[in-house]
């Protein structure tokens, strides 16, 4: 009996709608995040992550409504990230039905915000999302730095050190995305994932670059992650959640295969 490795589909949403396409069979409305969430819930996903890329406050209201509608119908854990700037943003997301809230730019600008949030809501519900890019030259020792604003803004902050800082402040989990790999389908950045996972005491979710099921296995066995996140391989039906779980199970990774 042991804690199972989690498989987490991630949906990008804006104004309460899925933005990167979801292409399941049998979805009444592929743009409706609630429909997608219900499908993933039924498929046995271990958690679901919504990344809200809405810029406007009107759109934000639609997001709260989307979370509330999802929580009404899906009895599975939800993490919501994107645009979290104030303690009140976190409270609103939790009250709408989120279980964990992911903080990105605000944590980079002000690591003490993480401490404040963890004191209020407990470490377990504060996820810090780290977007990292390799900055070391060929032949140099590997080094990764944090980028914000969707990878456009360089910060000069070392990714491993930053992960340790936010964990010390109270982050209960790290969602680690390799900006170099995102969308490439060539697999997670394993050296980055391992460097961060081995440096912190809290769970690390590997993200960015999954193209096949072996990549999920490697994220755990070679990247030392506690959970694997993927978007397109699930959204476009390349693989089902169950196929992913069976593949990981065969590779000797403990997964939840409840009927």
């Amino acid at each position: 009996m042991t804690l199972k490795v989690r498989i987490i589909p991630c949906l990008d949403v804006s104004n309460g709608r899925v933005v990167k396409g979801v292409n399941f069979v049998d979805l009444v409305d592929a743009g409706d995040p609630v429909q997608a969430a219900i499908a993933y819930d039924a498929a046995g996903a271990d958690e679901l992550t919504f990344l809200d890329i809405t810029a406007s406050s009107d759109g934000r209201a639609a997001t709260f409504d989307m979370i509330a509608r999802t929580a009404e119908q899906c009895f599975m854990p939800l993490t919501v990230g994107g645009g979290v700037r104030e303690i009140s943003d976190i409270r609103k997301l939790l009250l709408a039905g989120a279980d964990k809230v992911s903080i990105n730019t605000t944590a980079v600008n002000n690591p003490n915000f993480v401490a404040e949030a963890a004191d209020k809501f407990g470490n377990q519900c504060i996820v810090v999302a780290i977007d990292a890019k390799k900055v070391s030259a060929e032949g140099e020792e590997d080094r990764w730095e944090i980028f914000t604003h969707g990878g456009r803004t360089e910060t000069g902050i070392d990714a491993v050190e930053f992960a340790q800082t936010v964990v010390a402040k109270g982050a209960g989990e790290i969602l680690l995305t390799s900006m170099d790999r995102d969308g490439t389908k060539i697999g997670y950045n394993l050296p980055l994932t391992r460097a961060v996972a081995d440096a912190v005491s809290v769970p690390v979710i590997a993200s960015g670059g999954v193209g096949n099921l072996d990549h999920l296995v490697e994220g755990i066995t070679k990247g030392h992650a506690s959970a694997v996140l993927a978007a397109s391989i699930f959204h476009f039906g390349t693989y089902s959640i169950l196929e992913a779980k069976r593949h990981m199970h065969k590779a000797g990774i403990p997964v939840r295969l409840d009927p």
């Binding site: 009996m1 804690l3 209020k120």
Partner: protein, 219 residues
């Protein structure tokens, strides 16, 4: 019958309420669910549910900040014997005191389950804290809320997300554990009170079955 789900500003209330509504609907039970912070409603309710996400001290403060709320819970549960269901920090509040984000004296809880709420310390240093994710349950003693639910290594999974648990002092209060580098408290119970460290409202099949059992439980 009426069930009061206590609203004291702690997160995740909506999910708990929806899960109870779903269980009531699926079981076809004549039960009204009230999400409430009104002491009058709470003191008269037939069943009490205390959800909770957050830090122990902060949740306790939130509860105490609403005049009469704590007393109304005690009136229903202790004086009238209404069945009580705690979830996560709601369960931890059943303990003698919480040791999270506090000095060595701790923050007092309800003292229904004798013991402190302490940090989990896995004996394997590669295991991560918080424990976040799905784990199975090992039953220490039977409890009606677990009736008909498959447990053990090949049983259903429950969703945990926590760094602390109750270190129970009375053996009979411990109903189930899970394993995360050693036994971790998963379900506690005493008389008409039961609580889960995991989130039944997020535990799909296992969670809805437990909630249904609780609604039918006659301690």
């Amino acid at each position: 019958m009426s069930v009061a789900i206590i609203d004291y500003g702690s997160g995740n209330l909506h999910s708990a309420t929806k899960a109870f509504e779903r269980a009531v609907h699926e079981a076809g039970l004549p039960i009204k669910i009230h999400q409430t912070d009104d002491p009058d409603v709470v003191s008269k309710a037939d069943r009490i549910v205390l959800p909770g996400v957050g830090a122990f001290a902060d949740c306790k403060q939130g509860l105490d900040a609403i005049p009469g709320l704590r007393d109304s819970i005690f009136e229903a549960v202790e004086d009238r014997g209404a069945p009580f269901f705690g979830i996560c920090v709601g369960t931890q509040l059943m303990a003698t005191r919480g040791m999270e984000k506090t000095d060595h004296k701790g923050t007092p809880g309800f003292n229904w389950i004798t013991g402190d709420v302490v940090e989990i310390k896995p004996d394997d240093p590669t295991l991560k804290v918080p424990q976040i994710g799905w784990n199975t349950l090992d039953i220490s003693r039977f409890h009606p809320v677990m009736d008909g639910i498959p447990t053990g290594e090949h049983g259903l999974h429950a969703y945990f997300v926590h760094s602390y648990h109750i270190a129970t002092e009375r053996e009979e209060d411990l109903i189930a554990t899970t394993n995360h580098g050693g036994p971790v408290t998963a379900i506690v119970a005493h008389d008409n009170k039961v609580g889960t460290q995991f989130h039944p409202e997020k535990s799909q099949k296992l969670g809805l079955a437990m909630i249904t059992n609780f609604l039918k439980w006659k301690p």
